[in-house]
Subunit: 392 residues, 2 copies
């Protein structure tokens, strides 16, 4: 029943190695013919003839019918993916930024050339959320999708809340362990979970959005005062990407820190783990939990995609292509905690209501409601040093 | 792309009504042509011409290409399913007992007639565990699958542990709410989760087993002493179906009460909710959580199966049909807590080791290790009134 796959892989980092580890334990109907790598001089654990620095060795090889793209550079990944899909090769990718940014064009290319692009590994590692949104919840009325999509920032928050570390200590530890980059802003600033949210929203709601239009604020301005406030109230702070249908016709999306109470299932998602919470009209509350990153978990998701290609599996993008079009909206009121340094900032930000106001020598905050579009337009001010905002 | 489904439904109970509620909100390429019901006199919310008591009105109608079987009686359900599959109709069923008991024959019939039988709704309601085992974890080395598969007994345990109710009170409440049958032994005795475990094991390990050969002991003998013991140690008792690969060649399966600590993700699965915990070599620990029963959650799973049939989806049973055969084994040692009434019982049960022994006026227990096959052969004695066993 299954078709033989001859595979070319771009990249041999953590995920590429993880994928190779898994494949070699299995007797699958597939062959890895070539790896294209950037640095020819690096020592490799596999025979040298498997490696080349020339992309054409994969892209121009008619025998290779499946391209696995596992490189960091989103622009280069996009060029590779476009060329492969346009020349009749199916592609598996784990590059969330590339996919989130170019999803509309990539969908058109797939349709034009009858090829398939799969990317389960790009969103929450081993958790099969895309496949389930595509296949299983394809007829569900989805009220919302949210969760913990970024292992690095969640690891930092776990250290802060469970081991009383400071933000700086926890970040350093995450970097030492390789969970966070030297420039960690992609993770702690909420960009990485935003790319994943953009992809999730396309499969949940059929919305193809430019990630730049979606709000992301992160945990990089979190202070001891914010943590103390949360702990006094038995809450934790988590970095939460959130997509929700409102009014039957619009969808709001954003990534913000959020105060979470014990009765929220995300409260117990700790360290580098990820969790996805789906609220649906009929299936009710569904929760998926697993390792969000790492060579083996992500490699396992990539392999699931590869083996699905043996049966010519493809995403149908039904909600985008055939159903009523939902619109992206920023007309949505949030209840927030906003800690600030300078009093005059409150004159420059329009809160709809302010229900609590606190002053002390060290810290000042308000709790109130604010429109999402107001946060977006004042995001630089809101996220300036000395300030921190979180949904509450 | 999709094929039009003309549907005949057997049964119009909670799930049938739930399914109908969902379908009517959607513009799907399907038509419900007929319901076959047992009691013609009951008042229905839909036009009378949709209902009949004659099974042939569905089974002999060549226009109906899809049969949805939602009746309680497992024997009648099997006859309907066999006839439908053999006459070229695809079937969706939520009858766990019927499927667990006849899976091998049903698989052969599907292969012989090229028809498809789907049953996601039979296992843990809305949680898409069968689809994910089939599709997503099809190449994974699965260390174990366990969880909370039975909402009624979990509801009772939640009342006991969180609200200090007695077993009898909690059972009565579950019955009043319709969560448990008048004869609740299917649920609290662990039969229902065993049927689900049997189905899960077939997709996880390719093992088609007679459920009668699998051990199930339940929570029906739970006493206040057992609850007190658990609480003193900050543990909860949950009813856990468990399947695990051992030695690379054998699988053990059983359903037993188990003491669960806070760091186990199943600890927080409360009330009528279900959770499935999958441990895999590469994806690592994966957890699925959701509503395990009820008209809408199960109806939503049934609808996912129905709409998958529009694209001719079928389970491949790859692990059963093509991979190395794993064998069912009962050579497996468990650590258990065993509370007993009469001292002489210990002369009749072979514990491999006994590490703790407790006596008081009210209660006596041992903690020790015992072979699974020993529990199976002494199950009547072990489960006699006054005794209670749980894995610890």
């Amino acid at each position: 029943m299954s078709k033989k796959l001859t595979i070319g892989i771009f990249g041999f980092g953590v995920v590429g190695q993880g994928l190779y580890d898994i494949i070699k334990t299995k007797n699958l109907n597939l062959e890895i013919k070539k790896f294209v790598i950037k640095n020819a001089d690096k020592k490799r654990t596999l025979p040298a003839e498997l490696f080349t620095t020339d992309p054409d060795a994969i892209l121009n090889d008619p025998e290779i019918n499946t391209v696995v793209e596992l490189i960091d550079d989103a622009d280069a990944a996009f060029e590779i993916t476009k060329r492969a899909l346009s020349s009749g090769k199916n592609v598996v990718s784990a590059n969330k930024k590339m996919i989130a940014t170019h999803l509309e064009e990539l969908t058109e290319i797939q349709q034009k050339y009858g090829t398939s692009l799969l990317y389960e590994g790009a969103v929450c590692g081993s958790i099969p959320i895309i496949r389930n949104l595509e296949e299983y919840y394809d007829n569900e009325l989805l009220h919302s999708v949210s969760g913990i999509f970024n292992g690095s920032s969640n690891y930092i928050l776990s250290k802060i809340f469970n081991e009383n570390q400071s933000y700086a200590e926890a970040l350093k530890k995450a970097q030492d362990l390789g969970f966070a980059e030297t420039d960690p802003i992609l993770d702690v600033g909420g960009f990485d979970p935003k790319f994943k949210l953009t992809i999730v929203a396309s499969h949940a709601y059929g919305l193809f959005l430019d990630p730049d239009t979606i709000l992301n604020l992160g945990i990089d301005k979190l202070s001891d005062a914010d943590v103390r406030y949360a702990k006094e109230k038995n809450l934790k702070i988590k970095l939460i990407p959130f997509a929700k249908e409102i009014n039957n016709s619009e969808v709001v999306l954003y990534v913000l820190p959020k105060f979470i109470s014990k009765d929220n299932i995300l409260y117990n998602v700790e360290n580098e783990n990820n969790g996805v919470l789906v609220k649906a009209a009929f299936a009710d509350e569904q929760f998926f939990y697993g390792k969000g990153a790492g060579g083996h978990p992500t490699g396992s998701a990539v392999l699931s995609d590869i083996t699905a290609l043996r049966y010519d599996y493809r995403y149908e993008y039904k909600k985008h292509l055939t159903e009523k079009e939902l619109k992206y909206s920023t007309n949505y009121e949030l209840k927030v905690y906003f800690r600030y340094q300078n009093d005059d900032i409150l004159d420059n930000i329009n809160f709809s209501t302010i229900s609590e106001r606190y002053y002390s020598e060290d810290t000042k905050y308000v709790i109130g409601t604010i429109e999402l579009k107001e946060i977006i337009s004042k995001r630089v001010l809101i996220n300036a040093d000395g300030n921190f905002i979180a949904e509450i």
